[in-house]
Amino acid sequence: MSEVKPDLIDVQINGEWHSFPKGTRMIEACKEVGVEVPHYCYHPKLTSPGNCRMCLVEMGMPPRPAPGSDPVEPDEDGHVPISWIPRPVIACANTIAPNMGIRTESEMTEECRKGVMELLLANHPLDCPICDQAGECSLQEFSVEHGKGESRFREQKVKKPKNVEIGPRIRLDDERCIMCSRCIRFMDEIADQPVLGFTDRGSHTTLTIHPGHELTSNYSLNTADLCPVGALTSNDFRFQMRVWFMKETKTIDVNCATGANITVFAREGKIYRVIPRQNNNVNSNWMPDSHRLNIHWINSEARLTDPLVRDEKSGNHRVATWNGAMQTSADALLKLDGSEIAVIGSARMTNEELLITNRLAKQLDAGHVDVVAREGEPDGYLISADRNPNSNGAKLILGLENPGSTIDQIREGIAQGRIKALVCLQENIIDDAGFSADELAKLDFFLTSYPLANATAEVADVVLPGACWAEKSGTMVNGTGRLQRLNKCIEGPGQTLEAWEIVRDLIQALGGGNGIYAATELFAQLAGEVPEFEGITFGQIGDLGLPLIETDERIPLLEREAERKAQGLIVG
């Protein structure tokens, strides 16, 4: 039986023959076999105008015999000698053809690159010491690799607008711009706010924003990521930290159920910026500004750093040891019957934390277990209506059909005095779930863990510092049912513990089992206990996640991207 093969075409790249599917762009074919073609304007998720000319390569086609002469005989592999075309072509917008030859290391290609680099640098300000892009700038990199190393330009450089506020979060430096038009295409094709454009075409070509408009789109900061130079910079990250100092951690966004894949940049325990990481099944290459800027509370003064226990005499909180706080909690909880205890977990917890929370609920024989629901308006791009990152995990592991639906019953129970103790993990139930301080004051015992000091902590008997998303590892299931890994980026402040460690210690203080030392161990147990996770190992999940369950949630931005890919507009 013969296999059904896609239409494969033989192409020679730097002297070696390879096969690629029909319709592959030359640049992508080169990339596939590990040959880098430098480029600025080309981006696989955007249309290809071919205006930077950096990807020029030498190309050849099979010889076309003159009328009457014999065609060239192919060799035993079916290839004919290539006749090289004396002028270069761009690799980004051209697709491959049968028996095509591409040379990326020939003298002509090198000369083209050198020429393009010289022209791009003629008017570039070379203010790398103050430019935020330095260290991750394609212009710097290709200048070292393909540039001349010196300038022959003795005239005055063209002056253009600098330090222009084009939006609430984006700053533009036109002198640094190399006119690749990526930002223009992104705002037009993906963010649907086509307000950027070029004016004064010629030597004075200037990137500008339409008069009377601002770059207000919630996706505007993606243009700063796209910009190959430092023309567009983020107001939030501007001058904060040089890129070479920061440690990069691949993790996921926790601001909504989409779970955008991100890279977190941190130095010495402080997170400076978050940028999206490509995952074609989750967030493509983009993420919303509102989510990426929601990091500044992590290093704020309001962080809890020590376990606190309410002093019986003064009524104020005092700093306790972890053991002391656990013992106080266990003593109070063991006095009560299971039906008098409610456990509120969080759909912001990882699967591992939810599993151990479930164990705690079983250990206490708690009458109520639920998580706090967070709903918002979906934005039609990447932001999901569900603002919890792991609602699907809560459904699977805690066995909740509709997470958040029994919170009102818990409130009633507290009001009526049926529920006497509440264990609230990683949630601020006064601000986020509509509880009031007076209601919670009725409880005999109230334990809360949370990264920040807040109104809920104020009324609690025991307050525990729980690590935030950037300070713990684990897994989450996003809205579309994809299992993804959350990775630890920084250490938590002070005595902070991850929620699963807190719950483990509490179970131990209550007299239950112990013996869990790492979140990965909990994942192994999860794989044995919850059928959906069966057979999956932590390492198997990888950086891009695994499809775990089927849901009916779709990500609108990805659907539009698939459409544009089907039309052949983008590579995808």
Binding site: P125, C128, P129, I130, A134, Q156, K162, N163, R238, F239, Q240, R242, W244, F245
Partner: protein, 176 residues
Amino acid sequence: MAIVVKRPKLKWWEHLYLPALFGGMRITLAHFIKNFRGKGDHAMQYPEERWDDHLPEYYRGAPALVTDVQNRERCVACQLCEFICPPRAITIIPEEIPSDDKWAKVEKRPKKFEIDMIRCIYCGLCEEVCPEQAIYLRQDYSITGESREEMVHDKKRLYEIGGVRDGLVNKWNDLK
């Protein structure tokens, strides 16, 4: 390879040590008389007397920040010296220059610039790496303090040591 050193065989009067003792005292006495007549070598009376006049041009003392003839602080807080510094003695926190400042076009300057002189090893890599000719090793070698905090040179102190430097590349002139 080990070298075998032969132990000299001492005569009986050498075992008494007295001749060596008197020999030493003769040298001491000779120096005493020479100094007494004002002709001998003597130790430099530090700190009243110093090496300062004898320091060579290339002497590497304390690193310091300099201003140029237009009184502009040359450092733009690119943090390359912080990156290159082998003992991690330099700490910089950058800030944006406000738009009403005379040098607003430079955009960036250090808000905080500290060199921990307990850590500094006077290697001069900061001077070598600086793309703005802003940091130089001056001839100050006597860096002392009574506490660790005092040994950390802040921005003000660094400009005091560095002073104004002439003849540097005028990168941020009117044309720019």
